[in-house]
Amino acid sequence: MAALLFGWSALPVVSYADDEVSTLRAELNALKQEHANQVSALEARIDEIEAEQRAAAALVTPANTPPANTARGGASAFNPAISMIITGNYANLSADPSTYRIAGFLPSGSEIGPGERSFNLNESELTVSANVDPYFFANVTASVTADNEIAIEEAYFRTLALQSSFTMKGGRFFSGLGYLNESHSHAWDFVNQPLVYQAFFDSQLAQDGLQVKWLAPTDTFLEFGAEAGNGDSFPGTRRNRNGLNSQALFTHVGGDIGDSTSWRAGLSWHNAHSDDRPYDDLDAFDASVVNAFTGTSRTWVVDALMKWAPHGNATRHQLKLQGEYMRRAEDGQLEFDTLGTNLSGDYRSHQSGWYVQGVYMFQPRWRIGARYDAMDSGNPSIALVQSGALSSSAFPALLSATPERFTIMLDWSPSEFSRLRAQYAWDEARLDERDRQFLLQYIYAIGAHGAHKF
């Protein structure tokens, strides 16, 4: 029945004129076209709204470009990483800083003591570094001092990847001995170095030479290093001789204890030769004289460091404990009054020093710290004194002493790139006078992101 009805109703359509069909077709096409236009208009509108939303939310998504490729091109594409660190302080010192001396130790140089009084611009440190090519990395750190001098702190190349985890470094670099020696001053937890670093290495040992390091393929960190240099850095001197005037060997071991604690410990040895290493002193009649040491200085360093943070998350609380012990033997000739009397005799000493310090972050951005320094000059054997040629008062700088210092500090780091610090120290490095030192310090870093060294 339905089929019959359908057949009947269909029949008349067929009988319609051809032109009517084409009219209908045209109408249908027009409708289709209109629909398509509306759809594409709607699509366009949606795209537009989405783009607006993205812009409003400041979400800029580069079109089909992997993010790493966005900043390429131009002559500046190969610019090295550049960072600059500016530091300065205000110092309030109870004792005259020009009389500063670590009693009982052959004076090291200019890098000891708390610096000058009142406001001081400290060094401004400029670091430029980049990979040279597939084989080498290069780094230059220059410090500009307040008296408008430029000093190259470090300028070295380092291999990117030799075989079997050997790394070679050459040029001028801070020696890998101990723990603090490699750190630049802006990374220290106190304004100045421990006394033992000041006395034994004039604050820091730099080598102009070569360093080779090897990392053992173990899950526990185990590193061995050897260095050879020209000996220019205290306690050595340039000697106008071929060969190696300064050698260092060191090993470090480290690891984790659970999630919260990490540690590192090390043992280092350094040997340097010096020819006529001069120092200023007063003779028995308080007249200025220049004395000089010629011989070898051998130093052993033991270092240990531990960091603790709840779950290893150092954003809220962190405790950092560290200590280093150094022992130095010097053997050679001591010349008295090189510009006048010029007497010379054997000199031998066994001296030691150590520090321990703790720094605690008690809330985000705020840290408090304490450090204790102690030195023991021992009783150097001075042939000129033992033979009776001179009295011991002819060498006031070498009178037996046990300098010590206690330091506390509080610092506030608004961000990773700025730090303000207050520090107070009871310094008994001089033989007979206690120096109360109050220091306020600022450290600002601009440019490339600094490294979070352990």
Binding site: L59, T61, L215, H311, N313, K453
Partner: protein, 300 residues
């Protein structure tokens, strides 16, 4: 001399040992470490440098990590400068040529993704900005799939002998992940348009994926903790559009979030952020299961 010979032999033994073991992978974060585990199975030995309780921006180049980087065949990093403070140091100190950037042994998850919040200009006065975009990209589950296929290809490239194994395992993962995404998107439908407050901008991808509406961030600028004044302003601002929840990750400082929660009468929802951040988030699948469950549980 005998001693010297035996020492030399021991040294050679130590150096030769790792060659026979499974592929050694150092992953910087738990989520990408978990993904490497999913894709590599017993052919990889994954060491994860951080936990979900640590702020990955603020890690030191610890001795234990340098030791792992030294023997790694592959480093799997989040990238986009998330680890800028410490990963470059690890790579340098490791002396390991295989894992230097540009080599097959260095893999960055974010290099495969279109990152959100790429700043048009960077300046440190705007906080700790990442010039390449927001690097916390794994909380959009679709990104995990993209990274998974790139990582599968990389594993197959480095460990060619097991390429077929990785391909097959990768396909299996993709299928399970696709099904999981469909399930999560259905489950999370009620979350669409829900107003939330973030702490750091590390939940942005989650919001973007599930359609949560970020009303504000407790950090005024990335990495900058809020001042009391800023928080007070935030309370006033949020009075007009009250949030339904405040999202907090396992590693975030809870103080400011709790303070704000009491004033805007919205619960603080603790989210795992990464594998291991909550007891329930044991692997990548349960990380998202737990995240969505916790969000749904906080709906009024």
């Amino acid at each position: 001399m005998k001693l010297f010979h035996s020492m030399l032999a021991m040294l050679l033994l130590i150096v030769a040992l790792p060659a026979h073991a499974a592929l050694k992978v150092l992953a910087t974060t738990p989520e990408w470490g978990a993904l490497t585990d999913e894709l590599g199975g017993d052919k990889v030995n994954v060491y994860i440098a951080t936990t979900a309780f640590q702020d990955v921006h603020r890690i030191d180049a610890k001795p234990s990590l340098i030791a792992r980087a030294r023997s790694a065949d592959l480093v799997v990093a989040a990238g986009a400068q998330l680890e800028i403070g410490w990963l470059p140091v690890l790579l340098q100190e490791s002396g390991n040529g295989k894992i230097q950037p540009g080599n097959p042994g260095y893999f960055e998850a974010n290099a495969n993704l279109q990152l959100l919040e790429v700043p048009s200009s960077v300046d440190r006065s705007l906080g700790d900005l990442h010039p390449l975009g927001n690097p916390h990209a794994h909380l959009d589950a679709r990104n995990v799939a993209i990274v998974a296929s790139a990582l599968t290809a990389r594993l197959a490239q480095i460990d060619a002998a097991n390429a077929a194994f990785y391909q097959q395992r990768g396909e299996d993962f993709q299928n399970r992940w696709k099904a999981a995404i469909a399930r999560w998107e259905t489950q999370a439908a009620p979350l669409k348009g829900v107003g939330v407050v973030l702490i750091h901008r590390d939940q942005v991808y989650l919001c973007h994926w599930l359609g949560l509406k970020e009303l504000a961030a407790i950090e005024p600028k990335p990495g900058v903790p809020p001042s009391a004044g800023y928080l007070a302003e935030l309370v006033t601002k949020l009075a007009a559009t009250p949030p339904q929840m405040i999202l907090r990750n396992a590693y975030n400082d809870p103080k400011a979030a709790q303070w704000l929660a009491a004033r805007v009468h919205a619960p603080v929802v603790l989210l795992p952020y990464s594998v291991g951040g909550t007891p329930e988030a044991k692997d990548l699948f349960s990380l998202f299961d737990d995240t969505i469950n916790r969000l749904l549980g906080a709906l009024p």
